[in-house]
Symmetry: C2
Subunit: 569 residues, 2 copies
Amino acid sequence: MTKIVIIGGVAGGASAAARARRLSEDAEILMLERGEFVSFANCGLPYHIGGDITQREALLLQTPHSFKARFNVEVRVFSEVTSIDRQQKRLTVKNVLTGEEYQESYDKLLLSPGAAPIRPPLPGIDSPNVFGLRNIPDMDRIMAAMTINKPQHVTVVGGGFIGLEMVEALHQKGIAVTLLELSNQVMAPVDPEMANFVHQVLVQHKTDLRLNTGLTAIAERSVDPSEPEATGDYAIHAENSNHLELTLNNGEKLATGMVILAIGVKPETMLASAAGLELGPRGGIKVDDAMRTSDPDIYAVGDAVETPDFVTGQPALIPLAGPANRQGRIAADNMLGRDERYQRTQGTAICKVFEFAIASTGHSEKSLKRLGLPYEKVYVHPGNHAGYYPGAFPVSLKLIFDPQSGQILGGQAFGKEGVDKRIDVLAVAMRAGLKVQDLEHLELTYAPPFGSARDVINQAGMVATNIIKGDERVCHTADILNMTADQFLLDVRNPGELTNIGAISGACNIPVDQLRSRLNELPKDKEILITCQVGLRGHVAYRLLANNGFKARNLSGGFKTFQMTTKQF
Amino acid sequence: MTKIVIIGGVAGGASAAARARRLSEDAEILMLERGEFVSFANCGLPYHIGGDITQREALLLQTPHSFKARFNVEVRVFSEVTSIDRQQKRLTVKNVLTGEEYQESYDKLLLSPGAAPIRPPLPGIDSPNVFGLRNIPDMDRIMAAMTINKPQHVTVVGGGFIGLEMVEALHQKGIAVTLLELSNQVMAPVDPEMANFVHQVLVQHKTDLRLNTGLTAIAERSVDPSEPEATGDYAIHAENSNHLELTLNNGEKLATGMVILAIGVKPETMLASAAGLELGPRGGIKVDDAMRTSDPDIYAVGDAVETPDFVTGQPALIPLAGPANRQGRIAADNMLGRDERYQRTQGTAICKVFEFAIASTGHSEKSLKRLGLPYEKVYVHPGNHAGYYPGAFPVSLKLIFDPQSGQILGGQAFGKEGVDKRIDVLAVAMRAGLKVQDLEHLELTYAPPFGSARDVINQAGMVATNIIKGDERVCHTADILNMTADQFLLDVRNPGELTNIGAISGACNIPVDQLRSRLNELPKDKEILITCQVGLRGHVAYRLLANNGFKARNLSGGFKTFQMTTKQF
């Protein structure tokens, strides 16, 4: 009889426990969880704060009781493992309520400790009005503070998933929000021009978005605690609910009622590291593709481990729920003598931002640049479904690929409906080893309410394939911004579009439908950089010019991409 | 200079014209269209009738003028090609307005004639109140009849895409609808138990659904034409607006105001056939994978041609917009000397049915049965997104696969949101040659509003993989209905579910969470057929029983699938 001990009862740990029992009735399975809750919906926390999820209980997916009843898994909450004796295969467990410590043996051990929110050592960081959001008690604390202090303004620090979800949650509660982001963009997995779509949405929803801005200190303010009902002056209350004064890295001061720290997470490796388990270069627990650590009887899964990047194979820290669940299942298989392998992480992710969504899979342009890998990129902005069917809205998609082989390196998308679908299709294509040349052949569901006969993905594939086959040469915003005297900028939109939407200064305007009869207005000795609104008419113009002996390039994604790339927030 | 003539200016023909021009400025491109319109949104017609698409002009995607301006393509509407002289490479063209005929030469000819609605030779079929819906004039006629005759009841014949879309359109207009369907199900691409979801939706929306019912005769009724305003009696008007009396194949009579024929389409092959071009076994124009007919200078695309089925490679007629567009592009490439190949048709399709959607890709169970191919199937019914996030609704997915290799043979899904996404993911996986064993590893977008950490597709993949690996033996509704004395039926749901939702008669009920302690109630000498609500608890129970030495099988998709399989409409 194998005794399996699982440290950490969320996502990967919970999956492993259930899977282990399905594989073996004999195994003794013990789950130790430091906190009060196991298997809770950590991804749902911001939505309960914002009010979308009305019932707190909805977040509690499993309980110690349900684990016992269904899976005969013993769950001990409030139970922190303080050390691992690998020689003796024994754990020291501390009951965090009583302080009592005891020993527990294991045959196979699974570490699923997760990752902890980063708390930088800033002056004032320990103020009671500074919160992280990792678990149910964190959520409860935030909601209690919102109820008691009635903050009129909250500052969210960090524009990742949790940061963005908290901005929306607070907005739904009628609370003004400042979002501080140290880098030049929110949503680190996407590139800045794609993040700019999100910046725009945030600003439209009255978020006080401050990019390139860090928090350097937090101080308490003395405020008049009187209720607005007492004075009738709600402006005073708004001001008075700002219990904190923040100092920013640009020297500015900001009065705020609460701070939500959402800077990111770091893997919980203290226990593993103290036990002498190998860590990887990114600071996570090192595991092989069986999810086995450097100790053959100890496995680790989830946000605490490094897994190989799908494209490069290099160790990466990618804290996502889907991979954690899969890893848990695979670890259970291997702990019980099967041979299952984890198949790398692409980093497929999505975030709802008000009525919009931003999603990505694979590598971003900036990460490929950092790695020095060759890539090309194309942008398309087709409707999520047939334009003539009501409610169509563009899916702005960036497809990144190897310009030689056509290997799909990554994709990013922004829009309303259908963003998840397009990134899922790309993620599957990428995982299956399809190339961009295959994308135009994909046969996807089409009816006017759902897509187009030529879907967003088909279109992106065609554009990329045109480049690989030499049917189109593209240029990008950087080329436009760095034009030389040998180049000539041509805008093939209709004059009204230039006036109403805007245009790149210095462009010669010949609408595409007049181009064939006005070729004599174009210089034969210069390279013509073509722009239209989204790149489609530009492609028609490109082919027309190329077939007439002109040297040309088409701005991928057109003026819309140019605008998003050059816009400052 | 190549002279390309394209017969038919919608979908495939229009795509080919635009592509041909992008490839060559020199080619002379002439498009001949029998009707008044080219490149119109034929998939949008029902939605204009129903009022979703308010502007008729929105359906006119291109005009002869716009083709000329942008692509230098000459378009002649009202121009019917009456014969092809392949020796001389000349066409006889008839101006259908004037009757005038003339000759036109070609170097390369593309046939894109489409498919015509089937009009069975029934008595009364030529009544002015019997309509097909293929093009703009058909739509105009239907809308005019609705405006003038104010029908209170309309009969739709045929429950395919157009039939279902017309039911919804008429419902939106407040018109009562009878839907006649000769077979035992609507939506032929899916299997009956999946179609039952649609039947349920139709009945919930007050459609008078009559399965296994055909139309045998149409007769005019004499009705009082007086307006209800004159008499104040609207019931009389309702009755009086029923200008037709239908005779059904069960002998029943049905009074109705209009008939919409949506029985299906047959490829328009008269011209090709008269010119001696080879037809295929299914009655469509035979083409190779370059979209070339038996005449090397004549190509054909779209609903009129046979293409190889993705799984079997056998010729198939699959009239879909996406494939037509891709074929047009490929034909243009090949006509102009390139070498591009069409990569088979999976038959990926979707239909909106009120707030629901039904979609499929690849083969159905019934088509595999017909072909005598081995298959296994699994059903899952997980939420389209995290259950704790508001608005979750099940995606009921049927995955069909080769039980030996795991090759994906087909998929079908019904639900509200996210049906298109799941079938798209399956379609890509199938096209890429992924097996069901790969589906659990797919890394799809996850955040609570969009999916689950273990997506519908991951789950379906796990269930199928369990079968292939021998981790689960499944049974289906047919097995339950044909139980032998050696079998024992076990329902592991909670008693309240059996009472409130219903149960299979004769089942022994032991909730899964009590099963471990009540194993003594189960016979060791019988095969235990396990059912739960959707198959998930049944799997836990299956593993528990199997690990305890019982012989068992789990009902795939649980009682929900059983219900949909046995339900009669």
